[in-house]
């Protein structure tokens, strides 16, 4: 394979990583039955805080931790408003998404466009020498490796462990979870916070690595919404979520490459709308039963397996309140 392709694939994986991390975070939260709609703003605020913290302490690690803390804080606000104060999660999340973005702009105004600490690639020994796979997946930053671990870890957690059963149950049927001794609301706090911390980590992944630095308008603006859509597209399943994130990242890269390809003439500005069209189309696919129709075209043997993989029922209790008697 030629270098250009490998490099491009490497960049696609790198660029997708914050989306992967944020969508996995939101998957954790939504699997527990809570919608954290504040993603777009949370990521921006976390990116700013992460960058500034890293800059001030000259430590990327401190930046990452600060960003995770901020993401967690915003998420906890959503959880508290929903659980303690019985407010509409969507409304609170929406307000927070706007507020967090404005707050980032206000507090970060004197830190725009200055060089700061960055998280650089650390090729993994041995693994990075594997042909094709090595250059694409294992010459990346530590954050990318963390995202790999998160995908597999989350899948294992949700589908292979006992606490994972409780995690899914509180998002599916909190009353049943309660009956089995699961402390529904406490776990919802915990998973919302954990998900929020990952959303914050995604912010740091932008400002310390993928889109290094801080500026207004924040270059990651909009990705929070895409991450939310990826969770739906991903059917709340870690593997599909990661696939969705790579797909989006890949198509964005395509928009750049198309411009350089002689013979294709699409108005460049219109090309920039592609990710959004894609977002609608993917949601259409999962919502309108089109996938089901496509599946019927497949050979019978793989139908069952693919249907399982592609099924995307949201957690049944998503966005609802649970109040034990």
């Amino acid at each position: 394979m030629n270098n250009e392709l490998l490099n491009t694939l490497n960049s696609i994986v790198a660029n997708a990583t914050p989306l992967v991390i944020a969508s996995l975070g939101e998957t954790i939260t939504e699997r527990a039955g809570v919608v954290n709609l504040s993603l777009n703003g949370s990521i921006i605020l976390a990116a700013m805080v992460g960058f500034v913290a890293a800059l001030v302490t000259n430590s990327a690690l401190v930046g990452v931790l600060a960003a995770m803390f901020i993401g967690m804080l915003v998420a906890l606000l959503v959880a508290a408003a929903a659980i303690e104060l019985r407010q509409d999660q969507v409304a609170v999340g929406f307000v927070l998404t706007l507020l967090a973005a404005d707050l980032a702009q206000f507090l970060g105004q004197s830190y725009t466009r200055i060089p700061g600490p960055q998280i650089l690639n650390t090729p993994l020994p041995l693994l990075s020498d594997i042909p094709v796979v090595g250059p694409v997946f294992f010459r990346q930053t530590i954050l990318v490796y963390i995202s790999y671990a998160l995908v597999i870890g989350l899948w294992y957690w949700l589908f292979r462990t006992r606490p994972g059963l409780a995690h899914r149950a509180i998002g599916e049927r909190p009353a049943a979870a309660f009956a089995r001794g699961t402390q529904v609301n406490r776990l919802r706090y915990i998973y919302t916070a954990a998900g929020g911390a990952l959303v914050g980590l995604a912010g740091a992944a932008y400002s310390l690595s993928v889109k290094a630095g801080w500026a207004t308008p924040p270059s990651m603006d909009g990705d929070g919404w895409i991450a939310l859509a990826i969770v739906i597209f991903g059917g709340w399943h870690p593997f599909r979520v990661v696939l969705g994130a790579y797909l989006f990242s890949g198509l964005r890269a395509l928009a750049t490459v198309i411009q350089r390809t002689p013979g294709i003439s699409i108005p460049i500005v219109l090309l920039n709308g592609v990710p959004w069209l894609l977002m609608i189309i993917t949601l259409l696919l999962v919502s309108s039963g089109a996938i089901e129709r496509l599946l019927r075209l497949l050979p019978r043997q793989v139908q069952g397996w693919s249907r399982n993989f592609l099924r995307s029922d949201p957690p049944a209790a998503l966005g609802t309140r649970f109040e034990p008697e």
Binding site: P115, L120, A212, G213, P218, A253, R260
Partner: protein, 384 residues
């Protein structure tokens, strides 16, 4: 404060964008330091997205309330609004940067224009890239497509080609020069291509120098990041003299606007009641293009430029200076000599012929109204 003279500076972007807006902001600071009693009021980020509640009229009203007697509206975007608002404040002088109403004669009497001939800077930037590239592939991070951006990209291309051939003895036809347009002057997430991703993509595809044509610094940030990871890549930012600071070690230099001296003249004249409406072009001072008190457009060399290449670049600048100072070349620009062809092969200047700097649109080809990229450049020439 008998002597006080308050002027306003209206910026389209953030005053600290390390690009277009900061160059103006610092130009204003230069005026404060060099014109006794001059005091600046500024307003940043005046655009519908950042300040939807505020129009130029509101800003001007507020500034005039605070005593402003002259106001710079530092963007092409403000051209029409400036003309409108100027009518409401006939006692205030307005200078619209990069507009041409005063040239066209359509501006109210209290409106003047200023612009810099940055084509020179772009030629030099291109030369630095052509001298440095090891892969023979240069990326140009373009904003959106119009006459101005095409001619600036083409200037960089001509510089690169010339130096690739003349200082390195390489075949210029082997030089790859790719333009990718992000769709706007700066990144609007979700609406433009992301300059960070575009720059990465340049490097991924084998380019090792990226020249930025956009208002902000993503190009150099990415290059710096990749260089730290061990890649041999370089970058050339744009607009602002300090833009190299983002990653000095890989910066080959920056073509920039130096508004201070031009502004100071205007403010001083206005203060003395001697300002006359005009269309001012700020040119490089060819004795020293980086003289902060005389040059309107400059190019500072970056730390990323090797010593040998720096010497070649100096030689190139000297050649450009000689060309510019020759009376015979008054209405053209260095290297814009035939044979020149558009991307589609149409000849716009025959061998030995110079392309004029400006000619009426549609009558004859000119640098100013460059309708396509030049032959040899890769990338779209037109919006669709």
């Amino acid at each position: 404060a008998q002597d006080e003279f308050i002027f306003g500076m209206v910026l389209v972007g953030p005053f600290n964008d390390r690009g277009w807006s900061q160059a103006h902001y610092e130009g204003g600071q230069y005026v404060e330091q060099n014109v006794p009693g001059a005091k600046m009021l500024y307003f940043e980020k005046l655009n519908p997205a950042d300040a939807p509640e505020t129009t130029l009229r509101d800003v001007v009203t507020n500034m005039v309330d605070k005593g402003a007697q002259l106001i710079f509206t530092a963007s092409d975007e403000f051209e029409e609004d400036t003309a409108e608002v100027a009518k409401e404040f006939p006692d205030v002088i307005f200078i619209n940067v990069s507009g041409d109403d005063a040239y066209a004669g359509t501006a109210p009497a209290n409106v003047g224009n200023v612009m810099g001939t940055i084509e020179w800077g772009k030629l030099i930037a291109g030369c630095a890239a052509g001298l440095t590239t090891e892969t023979g592939s240069i990326g140009y991070l373009g904003p959106l497509i119009n006459f101005e951006t095409r001619r600036l990209a083409a200037s960089a291309y001509l510089g690169a080609r010339y130096c690739y051939e003349n200082y390195r003895g390489l075949d210029p036809d082997n030089l790859k020069f790719t333009v990718t347009w992000i769709g706007f002057w700066f990144n609007i997430p979700g609406v433009t291509l992301d300059p960070t991703e575009v720059t990465n993509s340049f490097f991924d595809s084998g380019a090792d120098v990226v020249i930025s044509g956009i208002d902000t610094t993503e190009g150099i940030v990415v290059a710096g990041q990749r260089a730290k990871q061990g890649e041999k890549v370089w970058s050339i930012p744009y607009d602002y003299v300090g833009a190299c600071e983002e990653a000095p070690e890989i910066c080959l230099g920056v073509p920039y606007f130096h508004w201070g001296p031009g502004y100071a003249q205007i403010v001083a004249a206005a203060k003395n009641g001697a300002y006359q409406q005009e269309w001012t072009l700020l040119n490089p001072d060819w004795t020293d293009i980086n003289n902060p008190d005389t040059s309107g457009v400059g190019f500072v060399k970056g730390a990323g430029l090797s010593e040998a290449n720096a010497a070649s670049l100096d030689d190139f600048i000297a050649k450009a200076a000689a060309f510019a100072q020759d009376e015979a070349n008054a209405d053209t620009i260095f290297l814009w000599q035939g044979p020149l062809k558009y991307q589609d092969g149409t000849e716009i200047a025959a061998a030995g012929e110079a392309l004029p700097y400006i000619a009426p649109l549609g009558e004859a080809p000119s640098i100013w109204y460059l309708d396509q990229l030049l032959e040899g450049m890769t990338g779209p020439s037109k919006q669709e």
